[in-house]
């Protein structure tokens, strides 16, 4: 038998054995078994089993590009004499081959997780002897998917907020991120209206989308949404509205090499309208420094201040612009109870000037009396941030049947995060309650 014939037989044998293994694996996932015989598609379907569909798309694209450049090399080798072009083609083919390999590893490691298989030996078997691994897992009765996400996410409300002409109207249909290879929905179906003069707590477990939510609301990261501030669409008129919105980010994004006074003053000059003359700006800066207890530190260098002090500088930088909507992402992180309370009291006072103040904090209970309302975001079964509650703080306690707000977080956190895993239940429950109110 000629070598080429032998190779062909071996390739066909390998193809059928691998297909047979996948045929049985797909059966375990209730996926159409016929896909097991169709090249490329079967890998994509396998990645569905591994809950790694995005990686599979990338792998398929890399395989295609690697093959195209491989064929191009054969063609170029025959007809093109330029060594530089040949080298370029080889390098590209090699790069895509490496990428394809990496994505395969990601899909196979996902498969090991879904099958609850620990250790590296199965992963190596899948990488280097995929046919053997597919046959064993396909025909072996003890190999069953154990870590599949079979929960169903809460239904969508299909709600839209009515425009009131004042306050903040939030109508988020969804907020997605990623490329064509990896798309993830971070937020979905969040509809609420915040009245002026309210101090609102934004609550949610890690990864529930709190920062994404405030970024979407402030227009910094646009979502598929309608955000209306005092009757004006934030997304459509962002250039005008950006001066009405103050957003203090989670991290202290300040220049450490400048003085406190200059830091606040530069922001005032940047953000205050021309209605303020030089004296007006100076007066405003001094007023803000006074309000946040920074007057005596004006000439001090920012980088040499304590964490709490830098946090106050960061807030002053936004507050000096007189924002109508003031959003603060964990302004009390790293502050002791007394400092945190004094800061929150200040924010409470600001809200009483008729502004809307939204605060994200992980330690809400120590200052909860200062908040009017609470927004609770929860991760649904698809790991997407959804609205689980919005309303007065007292009602929230009754709604979740918890005495503390940290208890509320525990209710909605997923079981693997140490919570009760009742997020979807509470999302639907809240929607029913809202519809009942109507």
């Amino acid at each position: 038998m000629e070598q080429s014939t032998f190779d062909l037989i071996m390739k066909l044998l390998n193809y059928f054995l691998f297909s047979a293994g996948l045929f049985k694996i797909f059966g375990k996932f209730k996926i159409k078994r016929i896909w097991a015989f169709i090249p490329v598609v079967r890998f994509y379907k396998l990645s569905e089993c591994a809950e790694r569909k995005d990686e599979a798309l990338a792998a398929v694209l890399c395989t295609a590009l690697s093959d195209i450049f491989g064929l191009l090399f054969i063609f170029a080798n025959k007809y093109i004499k330029s060594e530089a072009i040949l080298l370029g083609i080889v390098l590209l083919a090699f790069t895509f081959f490496v990428m394809e390999f990496i994505y395969h590893v990601k899909v196979y490691s996902g498969l090991c997780e879904v099958f609850g298989v620990k250790g590296v030996k199965w992963l190596l078997l899948w990488i280097f002897f995929e046919t053997v691994a597919a046959l064993v897992w396909g025909f072996g009765k003890k190999y069953l998917p154990v870590n599949r996400n079979t929960e169903k996410a809460a239904h969508l409300s299909g709600k839209t907020e009515k425009e009131t002409g004042e306050g903040l109207v939030i109508d988020i249909d969804e907020r997605t991120v990623g490329s064509i290879f990896k798309r993830k929905t971070l937020l979905k179906d969040i509809h609420l209206t915040i009245k002026p003069g309210r101090m609102v707590l934004l609550l949610g477990g890690s990864g529930a989308g709190k920062t994404t939510f405030v970024n979407a609301v402030t227009g910094y990261e646009k979502a598929k949404a309608r955000i209306v501030l005092n009757g004006k669409d934030v997304y459509k008129h962002f250039d005008d509205m950006q001066h009405e919105i103050g957003m203090v980010p989670q991290r202290d994004t300040v220049r450490y090499n400048d003085t406190i006074y200059n830091t606040v003053n530069d922001n005032a000059m940047l953000r205050l309208s021309d209605d303020y003359n030089k004296e007006g700006v100076k007066g405003k800066v001094e007023e803000v420094l006074q309000a946040f207890g920074l007057t005596n530190y004006g000439t001090a260098i920012v980088g040499k201040q304590s964490g709490g002090q830098i946090k106050r500088i960061s807030i002053s930088m936004e507050y000096v612009a007189d924002p109508y909507l003031f959003v603060l992402d964990e302004p009390d992180s790293g502050l002791d109870g007394i400092l945190a309370r004094s800061l929150m009291q200040k924010l409470h006072d600001i809200s009483r000037e008729g502004r809307i103040v939204i605060v994200i904090t992980h330690t809400p209970d120590r200052v909860i009396d200062l908040f009017d309302d609470v927004i609770v975001l929860a991760k649904d079964a698809n790991r997407t941030g959804r609205l689980a509650y919005y309303g007065p703080v007292e009602d929230a306690r009754r709604f979740f049947e918890k005495d503390t707000l940290e208890g509320i977080i525990s209710t909605i956190n997923r079981k693997e995060e140490g919570g009760e895993g009742r997020a979807d239940e509470m999302i639907e429950h809240f929607e029913e309650a809202r519809n009942g109110e109507k």
Partner: protein, 313 residues
């Protein structure tokens, strides 16, 4: 809410950021780039610039060393300037800061830094033995020609690194990319390693090429003596052919009749390079290209920074 309030525009925002830059010069020890430039400049001019503007070889080698110093200084001036404060820029951009104002402030500030560095390098170089020719090609005063050449070379490198700093998202990436760009700038300039064929065009995109052309032009390269051939011949003067030493006879004859200088000038004629022509047009062309490079780099920096809102958290 009031409608159509006006806020500081692009031009009025520049002084805000210019102020920040100059405060960084004091508070953040940016001033250290000046003594650093003095040390590097002094070291290089002491080692490699003894024959610059005196002989053809000395001008090319010393000029290349000076251009290396300029590119080195320029690169280090701003390679981390933007990427290290990307989060702050993003925050300020959302608050109404114009990217053009921000970059313009850096463009002005870096010009100031480069001017100081070049002045210091020239002073140190002169003190360590670089002798300035009397003739000037453009400005009527040689040190002015040299100052402008070194400044534009440093500034073009500075703007290129500012551009890199605006493209990459962190300091680590900036410091990884920088050596590659620097190597391309120096190796592909065609000065030390001549490029031929299709790749020759690459050298036109290097700062070093235009810097060295300008230096050689203002140094009147084509009228300088060439010493390397004389030195080579002199080295082989003991070479014997059939019991005689013909090379020694020739060198002795030339030395006895004071013909070495004449020989060096004659041999130099064969090494003249039209790219180093000492004409105002040529020097101005080199300067123009360096200015254009700086402008394009700053423009690219603006274009890339405009997308800063898309930065991931």
């Amino acid at each position: 809410m009031e409608k159509s309030k006006s806020y500081r525009g692009r031009i009025r925002q520049v002084p805000i950021y210019l102020g920040k830059c100059f405060r960084a010069f004091v508070y953040m020890d940016d001033w250290k780039v000046i003594p650093m430039a003095a040390i590097i400049g002094g070291l290089v001019s002491f080692v490699a610039c003894q024959y610059v503007f005196k002989t053809m070889e000395g001008t090319v080698n010393g000029g290349f060393a000076l251009v290396c110093v300029c590119i080195w200084n320029g690169f280090f001036n701003s390679i981390q300037v933007i990427c290290r404060e990307r989060d702050v820029i993003k925050r300020e951009h959302r608050s109404g800061m114009h990217i053009t104002s921000y970059v313009s402030a850096h463009v002005i500030y870096q010009a100031f830094i480069c001017m100081l560095q070049v002045t210091v390098i020239m002073a140190i170089g002169h003190a360590t033995g670089i002798q300035f020719p009397q003739a000037s090609v453009v400005m009527g005063y040689f040190p002015a020609d040299l100052w402008i050449t070194l400044f534009l070379t440093t500034y073009a490198a500075d703007m290129l690194s500012l551009m890199i700093s605006s493209i990459v998202t962190n300091s680590t990436a900036a410091m990884t990319v920088m050596p590659f760009v620097m190597i391309i700038q120096l190796v592909c300039s065609g000065i030390m390693f001549p490029l031929t064929g299709r790749v020759e065009i690459i050298k036109n995109f290097t700062i070093a090429k235009w810097g060295i052309e300008s230096l050689c032009s203002i140094g009147n390269f084509n009228s300088l003596p060439m010493i390397s051939l004389w030195n080579q011949i002199f080295k082989y003067r003991n070479f014997e052919i059939g019991g005689t030493k013909p090379i020694e006879e020739i060198t002795n004859y030339m030395m006895d009749n004071n013909l070495q200088d004449e020989f060096m000038k004659v041999t130099a004629k064969y090494s003249q390079n039209p790219s180093y022509a000492s004409t105002p047009d040529h020097v101005l062309r080199c300067w123009g290209v360096l200015i254009l490079m700086s402008f394009v780099a700053a423009l690219i920096a603006v274009l890339f920074l405009k997308n800063i809102d898309k930065d991931k958290r």
